[in-house]
């Protein structure tokens, strides 16, 4: 039977969305799904992982793993893969997912299909689609090395399972590989980002461009986002002008997002911005200029002033959503 390991990322005791998606993708490959949970006091995560689709969990609970660090996490994944020789290892293509998977694949000299938007198993070999040239081209990539095959999955490209609270399974405890004295780095502090919803996981994003006119112009964007439970995005022009922090930038040199609904207000739709949002399911463009390139990509377009339209939308959504 195919054995699929899924490295499960968690933050603040919560299994992150890309890991739920990876468990969903693992389910489509057939076989037994082993979740890997590394951290400190991770029992809640283990439970959530069973509910989200894991058949079995390898848990490594240790002080040295309390926050993600490259060296101890990579060394541990490498060791577990070496000892168990699974057919496949999956993880979300998140900041930490890329690091641990890239590192372990290098240690083991195995192929890694990175940033996949589709994944299949043909004759025992993983095959995937990976968008390249900012999504202008799709590449089909395949593993050619023997043994364990690695893949990281783009956020929101795979469907998570409906959580099933009746599921549980066997938990195997393992030990860390590195002692604190072997680890060359320390996480000294952490500052949470302002927005409540992470751009990469968001189902809805409301983004502002130079049309908002200044930092205070993001207020109507934030108000609409609040009502919709959406994340706030931005064009590079507004980030470069210092109106909003870089973390919000969508596009080629920012984040690539793929929400169900992307509302672009006061954004012209330059090719580099499109690179970050073109795969959004529904795109709404609000712009004063009827010739703005964003209308070429949008599902729905409204020509008009964002300072009138956004508050009107906020009001109508509030009524409709009963808020």
């Amino acid at each position: 039977m195919t054995s699929v390991f899924v490295w499960l990322e968690h933050f603040d005791g919560v299994l992150v969305q890309p890991s739920r998606e990876a468990l969903g993708a693992a389910g489509t490959l057939g076989g037994k799904i082993t979740g890997l949970v590394f951290g400190k006091n991770v029992d809640a995560v283990v439970k959530a992982a069973f509910h989200a689709g894991a058949d079995e969990i390898i848990k490594v609970d240790d002080e040295t793993l309390e926050t993600f660090r490259f060296e101890p996490y990579v060394a541990l994944l490498t060791k577990i893969v070496k000892d168990n020789t699974p057919d496949i290892v999956l993880a979300g293509h998140t900041t930490r997912g890329r690091e641990i998977m890239g590192g372990a694949a290098a240690d083991l000299d195995k192929g890694l299909l990175a940033d996949c938007t589709e994944l299949s198993l043909e004759g025992g070999r993983l095959k995937a689609v990976h968008p390249v040239y900012s999504g202008k081209v799709l590449s089909t990539i395949e593993i050619v090395s023997d043994g364990t095959q690695f893949a990281t999955l783009r956020g929101r490209a795979f469907t998570p399972n409906e959580p099933d609270a009746s599921r549980s399974g066997n938990v195997i405890s393992a030990s860390p590989v590195l002692a604190e004295s072997d680890i060359a780095s320390k996480v000294e502090s952490f500052e949470a980002s302002v927005g409540k919803v992470s751009l990469s996981d968001a189902a809805i994003i409301v983004s502002g461009g130079r049309g908002v006119g200044g930092p205070e112009g993001f207020a109507p964007i934030r108000e609409l986002a609040e009502v919709l439970g959406a994340a706030v995005g931005a064009s590079r022009a507004t980030v470069d002008a210092g109106w909003i922090p870089y973390e919000h930038q969508v596009g080629q040199t920012g984040k690539v997002v793929s929400p169900d609904l992307y509302i672009a207000a006061g954004i012209s739709g330059a090719i580099q911005h499109q690179a970050g949002m073109r795969t959004s399911k529904t795109i709404v463009a609000i712009n004063k200029d009827a010739d703005a390139p964003i209308f070429g990509l949008a599902t729905y377009g409204i020509v008009g002033d964002l300072f009138e339209l956004l508050p009107a939308l906020t009001k109508v959504f509030k009524e409709k959503l009963g808020k």
Partner: protein, 259 residues
């Protein structure tokens, strides 16, 4: 004390990139330095200015990648090196990481290797971590700011971005880092810089010169395709007032079950 910045060229970001009838990726526009590397190369030069260290700008690839190396030289890096031989023709990130690690080891006295966060063209955000493991060094990815670096004491402290916020991470040198946009204000070459760079020798190191075999790939690209067109044309929403337009749009979104 020596900082190496690893870079490559990519098609201009506005280039019209398509797959032709024979399945090859083509574009007409010029190659430019990978946009994320404007920041990594600048960071190397800023470190040089502040710490009196040596800087090398390194690429792995065909001659077109000298464009990126020249930009590094033009803004102030000390030397450029290109690693290439025919065994790297369809290299994956494993083979590149072996090549970069071998070149860094040949340089010998390197304390820090800097990458841009990813490649804007065929990027996978893998090279950084794989090079780190091949060198056996620590990696700190997605660095937003170098807070402290002490080349003599061999320590570094950075702010790095993760999905949920910013972390301050302290580590030891030698290390490999990748840097994100906004770590600095990119430097652009001056006329004099471009002249100097165009005259510089960029030696090519092959597998023999490095004394390594780049080994086998783990991944191959089997096909390229143009993505499907977005379904349908834009539907414009009209109305006499902002309120009416807003109502019509919201209705559509509910009809489509977007909400």
């Amino acid at each position: 004390m020596h900082v190496v910045v690893v870079t490559k060229s990519t098609p201009d970001t506005a280039a019209k990139v398509t797959v032709d009838g024979s399945g090859n990726v083509t574009w007409k526009e010029a190659m430019v330095i990978n946009p994320w590397d404007e920041y990594s190369v600048t960071e190397a030069v800023l470190l040089k200015e502040a710490h009196n260290i040596k800087t090398t700008v390194l690429t792995v690839g065909e001659e077109a990648h000298n464009e990126a190396v020249k930009q590094g030289l033009a803004i102030g890096c000390d030397q450029g090196i290109r690693v290439w031989d025919s065994t790297l023709a369809n290299a994956d990130s494993l083979q590149y990481s072996r090549a970069v690690a071998a070149a860094v080891q040949k340089l010998g006295d390197v304390d820090l290797v800097i990458f841009g966060k990813e490649q804007a063209d065929t990027g996978t955000d893998q090279h950084v971590y794989q090079v780190g493991r091949k060198l056996g060094w620590n990696v700190i990815g997605s660095v937003f700011k170098i807070q402290e670096i002490d080349f003599a004491g061999k320590t570094i402290k950075v702010v790095r971005l993760v999905e949920q916020g910013k972390q301050v991470v302290a580590g030891k040198l030698p290390a490999v880092i990748s840097v994100v946009k906004d770590i600095n204000e990119p430097k652009y070459p001056s006329f004099m810089g471009i002249r100097k760079a165009s005259k510089a020798e960029i030696p090519v190191w092959d597998g023999a010169a490095l004394g390594v075999d780049f080994g086998l790939p783990g991944v191959k690209v089997s096909a390229y395709q143009n993505p499907p067109e977005r379904a349908g044309k834009v539907q414009m929403i009209d109305g006499d007032s902002a309120d009416e337009k807003a109502r019509k749009l919201v209705e559509k979104l509910f009809e489509d079950k977007v909400l």
